[in-house]
């Protein structure tokens, strides 16, 4: 009996993995497309950074005073190439900046040095040429303002040191040293709460997205696994083999789970690479030792998450297989299963953005009635410590899975698998008339 199951699983995996319609969108594209997108963004960022390193600024000094001179010296020290504009005609200067592809123009007005020296505010004009957008350009143009801000900070330090020679400028500007810590499970923990929230949010986003992708992959695969047997005219032969039909169903479920897990891993690897290309790295622990602060997943929380995900997978696959029995080909099966994605997207959005218990009662009941909400809730168990909700969810999904598997097994065990059809075509023809 188990040998027959193993044969079916091996055949299913071979068939699914060798099918370009499955291999390309589910495994190859995530592994290539996301890293390529990440590479494109990373290259643009590097180009932008390189652009900042080669800043050339035109300076129209209408002041000629010591502070203006100091600004020029500072810019030169920061590796900025300065192009002096002697002609005070702004229109000429604008044309020159654009034609010479300079990063910007700083106009130091007359009286600038005098105002600063007397402790007054003095205007400084900064012009950035507009060339049509792009990250590189915006980064370069904001760099000019940043350089001016840097110079302004130097002036502030200078003024404070002049007025309060016995004080440190940093102490004057920051009289309070804020030390932010968190309270976790009644214990004070030396971790900034913002870092902690960031960590929880990143995990509670990645996990529901990952679960959603896995379930969508798995459903499409399971639907394809049955419908392709019909489309390729292999189902009748398979059903007359000396093997229990439930084993055929189990083999298809297992084969679909294996390929869906590989597909979801490929998707997450590609997605992680994509995200890390512009964030530096996914903030998996943000330097926080989760075990030390009591937020590391325990064996029980891992067990509950695993069980919850497994039950969700089983119920999704059984649902997909039951539906695909009514389709005549792969396209029909995917059309039948496709709308079920709402059952994953809906809980995913709510679990990412809110706590379900905070929602209006009818809405939270609807969400909890969707079996696929529960693995997303179970994924939070290590943060919330709410093991009861996770266990309740597993029990609920088990009941749901048993019912759907029973229906699937009934459909597989009888002639319904050959004779059941949903007649979309007839319906559309009638409508045309």
């Amino acid at each position: 009996m188990l040998k027959g199951l193993f044969n079916i699983v091996v055949k299913e995996v071979k068939e699914l993995v060798r099918d370009p319609k499955i291999l390309l969108p589910m495994i190859i594209i995530p592994l290539i497309m996301f890293p390529l997108m990440g590479f494109a963004i990373q290259t643009s960022m590097e180009a932008a950074e390189e652009g900042i390193g080669k800043i050339s600024i035109a300076v129209m000094d209408l002041d000629g005073g010591p502070v203006a001179e100091n600004l020029r010296i500072n810019l030169t020290n920061w590796n900025v190439k300065i192009v002096e504009i002697d002609d005070p005609d702004l229109t000429e200067a604008f044309s020159y900046v654009q034609e010479s592809n300079l990063t910007g123009l700083i106009v130091i007005p007359s009286g600038f040095s005098q105002n600063i020296t007397e402790g007054k505010t003095s205007e400084l004009e900064v012009y950035a040429p507009f060339r049509g957008g792009g990250i590189t350009e915006s980064t370069s143009s904001s760099a000019v303002s940043s350089l001016v801000s840097l110079f302004e900070n130097n002036l502030i330090d200078q003024r404070i040191n002049e007025r309060f020679p016995e004080s440190n400028s940093t102490t004057v500007l920051n009289p309070i040293a804020l030390s932010e810590k968190s309270i976790i499970n009644g214990k004070g923990v030396d971790v900034n709460p913002e870092v902690l929230f960031g960590l929880v949010i990143s995990q509670s986003t990645i996990i529901p997205v990952g679960i959603m992708m896995l379930l969508i992959f798995a459903m499409q695969l399971a639907a394809t696994a049955v419908a392709s047997e019909k489309e390729e005219k292999t189902l009748e032969t398979l059903l007359t083999l000396p093997i229990n039909r439930f084993m055929i169903l189990a083999g298809k479920l297992t084969g679909s789970i294996i390929v869906a897990v590989v597909g979801a891993i490929a998707y997450l690897i590609g997605f992680s690479y994509y995200t890390s290309s512009f964030t530096g790295a996914i903030p998996t622990d943000a330097g926080v030792d989760l075990a030390a602060i009591g937020l590391a997943p325990t064996f029980l929380s891992y067990l509950l998450m695993g069980l919850s995900l497994f039950m969700a997978l089983l119920s999704a696959l059984a649902l997909a297989i039951s539906l695909s029995v009514f389709a005549e080909d792969v396209r029909g099966a995917q059309a039948l299963v496709g709308p079920l994605s709402i059952l994953f997207v809906f809980p995913m959005i709510f679990t990412i953005f809110t706590d379900i218990s905070a929602l209006p009662f009818p809405l939270s009941v609807i969400l909890l009635a969707i079996p696929f909400t529960h693995p997303m809730l179970a994924a939070r168990v290590s943060f919330t410590g709410d093991y009861l909700t996770a266990i309740g969810g597993i029990l609920y999904m088990t009941v749901f899975t048993v019912i759907v598997l029973y229906i699937a097994a009934r459909l597989f065990g009888t002639e319904k698998i050959l004779t059941a059809k949903l007649k979309f075509r007839r319906f559309s023809l009638r409508r045309k008339k």
């Binding site: 055949k11 007359t240 002639e415 050959l418």
Partner: protein, 243 residues
Amino acid sequence: MSVAVEAKDLVKVFGSVRALDGLSFSIENGEIFGLIGLNGAGKTTALRITSTLLLPTSGTVKVFGRDVVEEASEVRSLISYLPEEAGAYKNLSGNEYLKFMASFRAKNKDAVRELVDVASEISGLGERLRDKVKGYSKGMKRRLLVARALMTKPKLAVLDEPTSGLDVLHSVHVRGIIKRYVKKQGVTVLLSSHNMLEVEYLCDRVALINKGRILATGSPAELKTRYKAVNLEDVFGEVVGFA
């Protein structure tokens, strides 16, 4: 001779269509028995019920004494079914397909290899068995499927239009396989066809079927004598009434 298949008063209703209307026939062990009739006569339905794929609305079919409804799993271990529009898994090679099918009947790897060797000989596909099925022509695919159906030496082979859609050369090859191999191994065959010449060449006995009922049964020679006809086509015309 013992009875291999016995169908009694078979009725099958699909919605408003009565596909089988009291069909009865019996097949002796080792016999090649053909159901001949027009498209929609009920041949495939009768074969599908015998192969445990469909349930009869009423009536019974027994295969070597086993009821196809009550003892379906036992019947499946005795039979091998070749559907009319059968396909093979296109992303597997011919060899992989045969190994997959053989693994349900064979007890170990050596036995699987033996069955695949038998199938290789029956199909005559040789080195092409290493290629993926999606590269096969229709004729090659059918030869692979016929070999799959016969390699396990089933007690009963149920073959629905075995040469369906094949050109003359492939049809001759497939008919040759059935005639030689089945007789050599003592396999009982229930086949359907609307090709009268094929049936005449292959079958020991035939049943003429129309609108879900059997109109006449006998060996091709008996039927030709009974209806004073030159061939089975004329017999069929005489019985069904279009001649």
